[in-house]
Symmetry: C2
Subunit: 490 residues, 2 copies
């Protein structure tokens, strides 16, 4: 297996090229003036910025085919964008070029309850599919915290998770078919209504490829029966170690909660100020635990969990008594990031993974890093999965603080690797973490990944500068940090 | 995306080459005499036969690296083999060459209950892992009917399912890491104890690649907590349509049974004769239904299922009263294929998939085909998944009967495609179904699959003649049936 060098797209945007694009989508669905483009200079990862040369808003797969072909003919790179909620620069137009915004492709094309699937366009906002299913007894299971804004196309790019990942799985477990425009400009389909077939799982491979395999135009997803009943609990702890022990004990008892989320004192304080839920401000950490299933089962599970938490030192375990109380608790959890605004003008949500048994160790390490760099860190995370989201608070107007945040992030993620984990659980590599790839993977690993990508994206024009450190774009050179190569999860 | 033509390995086995192999594994672990090789001329698919030129029994990954390098140096193809239980010719040494038998690599290397995984060699027999976990409260979930013989390496090749697939998923859902020797002779690792990472899911891609991506040397699999309780039921029906309607109603009620297996009158008769379970011989079909979970939940689910079956016309629903009764019921189901020996000297177990809602239609079609070709067909299948296993009974000493069996199989599988399904649910394409690939997939689809395979297996020396109709071996030409190309699940 040998790596081929990827061609470097050059970004010369000619007036003819712009006219070509305008002919495809019409002038009203094309942005090219400086002030309009500024909106698209970054996504949820605010540290790196890069203005695209032009943004187009296609409405059909055929328009995307034509856009991609025009880009290839003019040697211009292109990048898809959903809602721009990526926290890792997944939508950043590295080196410029054409941004293909999919926000106008937001139709739910079919809902087939008998065969348990829905067909949606890539720009459908995640929660809108579940809303469209209201009253049917079904929902779309992957529920990232940003589900009120993020799109299903974007969820495919990063293989999004969410609080209910623990029981229901991530996006790849729910996508059964993808229609997409290849980076060569062909419209192809993987899988479909009857699922992913029994051959090479190319649909599964596509999910998580961060826009580097092509532009999604249509998606077949499973719809999941709503549970007959659920119980939602808040367990309150005076010690982080007790909290993580309780998590271990719940999982160890053979219970798979629908959600098992941990929030520390810092985030709980911000949430209480924002939502007045009645969180105890002196607790070191709380667990939000939800079980679902049959009515008789959830009561038994809730009782077992309550007992396990109390045995592990929980001060109190509160069971949500009403639907309103449950909704407010989930609102707190899902809008935790919004509440951070009360603590700090800017924040950086990190995304790391450690084996569940290493959660106490990584939390102690984060506290130590926080103190050493004088950067406040609060924690909210998918505890059942070992997927942590330390939130680093800072003021982006202070360059020196940004530097310390970057250092602290780097140390935390490096520690995740050392503990046998990964630098991302669900936000993706994007541009943010590309320099970690050489630490996570051996050179041989990266060559295989690059070779697989080249099957789909041979010219490298589609989403350059993302995910893999090997493909460059428009004069951009990624500085590859040299670390001892390491055998790791690939 | 363009397809490259694959080189055709030539099978010239020189005495020097045999000496090279003998130096690697020792003469006691090499077979090359005609009578010894005859044992390896086929697997569970008895229709095509091909004797390998030599069989080697490596004991370490390093030996496999050396074997693969020796093969490449002498331009000899090679194929891995586990227990040889493939029903699709997955172990057939197409065009000859070296068979790498993995049956001596059968160590369970590690069991880590705290982090919920086990590490095994590829030749570990599936059931032996669950046996090694006895008393720990855990088991290995994928449980093909052949689990008493088939190996975990072979399960990876075909992405094996089993009766408990409906709730617990197939092999790909349980494999978190693979160490393998690439067809170039490198030892590499995908994934590992902390899972499959968040990048291109190459581990997932490998599972189901039918030995064409390399030779597995080590596997990390999840171990699953045993359910606290289960209830096992036998529902007895006087009509096939009622049976399939009951399946629909159970799934429609939002229950996911741990297993939902259907057996028709023909197979039930054979089972009764073999095991004396007490099956009613006049029933048209029976459902074996198992639910698992918490004690309180399984009773409620069992009651609901009983009521749903009765409402749909079940004559009787029997709940297993003792562990012995349950064990016997499962023995009947898992050894159904053995019992077929009472009906016929030979049989061909087909493997097709249809959308669950098309089960009544495909069963009517199978009955019609059976009558038209005068080939008796009995049915046992994973009804909850729409994965059918019609068993065609014949006498392999009668060439004319074999011809009719092939015709009937072809018609049944073609109908599965027409109904929106697939020609294999879990047995794989192997050599048996390679001519269907052009009907299931478009030319463009197959080119992408071939290009992905070439990343791993550029010379085509590893498992030639399997899975894809594009790569040949040793003077073998697959006759590609020309059918209108069709967009299908890929």
């Amino acid at each position: 297996m040998t790596a081929a060098t990827s061609s470097q797209p050059t970004c010369v945007i000619t007036p003819e090229f712009l006219r070509d694009l305008a002919r495809i989508v019409g002038p009203a669905r094309l942005l090219s003036s400086e002030d309009e483009l500024l909106v698209y200079e970054c996504d949820g990862y605010i540290v790196e910025k890069n203005v695209p040369d032009v943004v187009v808003f296609p409405e059909t797969a055929d328009e995307i085919v034509a856009i991609v072909k025009a880009c290839l003919a003019s040697d211009v790179p292109f990048v898809p964008r959903g809602a721009g909620t990526s926290l890792a620069g997944g939508c950043l137009p590295v080196g410029g070029g054409v941004m293909i915004a999919l926000t106008k492709m937001r139709q739910i094309l079919e809902i087939n309850l008998r065969d348990r699937y829905a067909v949606v366009e890539p720009g459908v906002v995640n929660i809108n599919l579940t809303r469209a299913l209201a009253g049917s007894g079904f929902h779309y299971a992957p529920d990232p915290s940003s589900q009120g804004a993020c799109t299903i196309g974007g969820n495919i790019a990063t293989n999004s998770g969410g609080p209910h990942t623990l029981k229901y799985g991530v996006t790849v477990n729910h996508v059964i078919g993808i229609e997409f425009v290849t980076p060569d400009g062909d419209l192809v389909q993987l899988g479909g209504p009857t699922g992913r077939g029994n051959n090479f799982d190319l649909t599964g491979l596509f999910v998580g490829s961060e826009g580097t395999f092509g532009i999604v135009t249509k998606v077949w997803v499973k719809v999941v029966r709503n549970p007959a009943a659920y119980r939602t609990m808040l367990a309150i702890f005076d010690s982080i170690d007790d909290t993580t022990q309780a998590i271990s004990n719940i999982i160890g008892a053979g219970i798979v909660p629908a959600a098992l989320e941990m929030m520390d004192k810092g985030i709980v304080g911000a949430l209480e100020e924002a939502f007045h839920f009645g969180f105890p401000l002196d607790a070191e950490a709380v667990l939000l635990i939800e079980v679902d299933g049959l009515e008789v089962a959830v009561d038994a599970e809730a009782q077992t969990i309550t007992q396990l938490c109390k045995d592990t030192g929980a001060r109190e375990v509160r069971l949500s008594q009403t639907e309103e109380e449950r909704a407010l608790l989930w609102k707190c959890r899902k809008q935790a990031f919004g509440a951070i605004g009360r603590l700090s003008p800017s924040y950086c949500t990190q995304d790391g993974v450690v084996p569940r048994t290493k959660v106490p160790e990584i939390l102690r390490f984060i506290a130590e890093v926080s103190e050493r760099h004088d950067i406040r860190v609060v924690n909210v995370f998918h505890a059942g999965d070992g997927n942590l989201h330390p939130i680093l608070l800072f003021d982006e107007r202070d360059a020196e603080q940004i530097k310390r945040v970057m250092l602290a992030s780097d140390e935390i993620l490096s520690k995740c690797i050392d503990l046998g984990g990964s630098v991302t659980g669900e936000h993706g590599i994007g541009v943010e973490k590309i320099s970690f790839m050489n630490r996570l993977f051996t050179e041989e690993d990266l060559i295989v990944m690059e070779d697989v990508r080249k099957v789909f994206n041979p010219s490298g024009h589609c989403s350059p500068g993302k995910l893999l450190p090997t493909a460059g774009a428009c004069g951009m050179e990624h500085i590859q940090q040299s670390h001892p190569s390491r055998r790791a999860a690939m």
